[in-house]
Symmetry: C2
Subunit: 209 residues, 2 copies
Amino acid sequence: MSEYRLYCFGESGNCYKAALTLALSGCDWEAAFVDYLGGETRSDSYRQSMNELGEAPVLEHKGERITQSGVILSYLAGQTGKFGGSTDSERREILRWMLFDNHKFTSYYATLRWLVGIDRSGDPEVHKFLRGRVLGAFGIVEKHLRDNAFMLGEEPTIADFSMVGYHYYDEETGVDRGTFPNINAWAKRIAAMPGWQHPYDMMPRRASL
Amino acid sequence: MSEYRLYCFGESGNCYKAALTLALSGCDWEAAFVDYLGGETRSDSYRQSMNELGEAPVLEHKGERITQSGVILSYLAGQTGKFGGSTDSERREILRWMLFDNHKFTSYYATLRWLVGIDRSGDPEVHKFLRGRVLGAFGIVEKHLRDNAFMLGEEPTIADFSMVGYHYYDEETGVDRGTFPNINAWAKRIAAMPGWQHPYDMMPRRASL
């Protein structure tokens, strides 16, 4: 049995944030499949025993279960001593970007991808609304990365691993990502790190079982 | 001059989260008006000198400026030693709820209130979409508060002050808050704490200037 077990599914960029951090930190970990698309996270038993928020990922370590990707990434940084910043000011900066990620950057993009590229549901007006929010959030990060190799400057942190979570998926969203060259270059820098893998190569999927 | 200065505006529940934490922690603080409704946060000068994310609140303390409500609340808990939890496990639990708040709880509700109750804009399909998300997030918290006086149990923490941020506003949203009795009782418990005030009594508004 591995030291860490991550309950996850391949389509989830939020799960990928945790998987990527485990991999880039050199942790001994294994993936356990959560059948989100089959409704597992909406069941009473999942909400009672795994996560009352009905979400994945869930990280199991030393008999404890930790939920919410931002908490998992902070926990891993604490355990491994890697990618978590070294001063109070850096840790605040990491938290700032992770909150922004959950609030606006990943949040709208992941929902848009789900509706347009996977579930093929939702009203076109909703897609348009989400696309507008995505472009606003992407614009802020594009500008920030003009002068920074990573979100905090020269070195990657868990803020990057959180924010890049949905970047390597190719499902349709109607957002032209070619118009964000700094974001694309940043994602390539992360993909060049030792241990990096594509989400579909790291985590099980319903289609592949 | 007060020890803390909070750049804020009354209509913002995200600003209120910080104002409320300052007040309940007994801090010496003052409010400085940000003219969000007049476009101040969208200006280049605001983004350059105050917050590149173009958001309020911004907290000024000892010559430093701190942004993002969740970072400000964590910073204040660190400074005052109040409401921040006392173990690693409690701090993780606080972070978990603050991330959920930014991702789903405040996030959708604040956007819905903005579109429906203040700006009177947006497509009805977008309102319907947001209302569905709000009901999902509210349902999770309603259930959690059935057995807990506050989010972490018997004692209030900054997770509560973050999550309650939009509760005391009365602008229309189309969500019937009467159907969430546990959330209402929890908000009343917070409003009974010494130092509590309504957001419109704590922070300047454009209309009141």
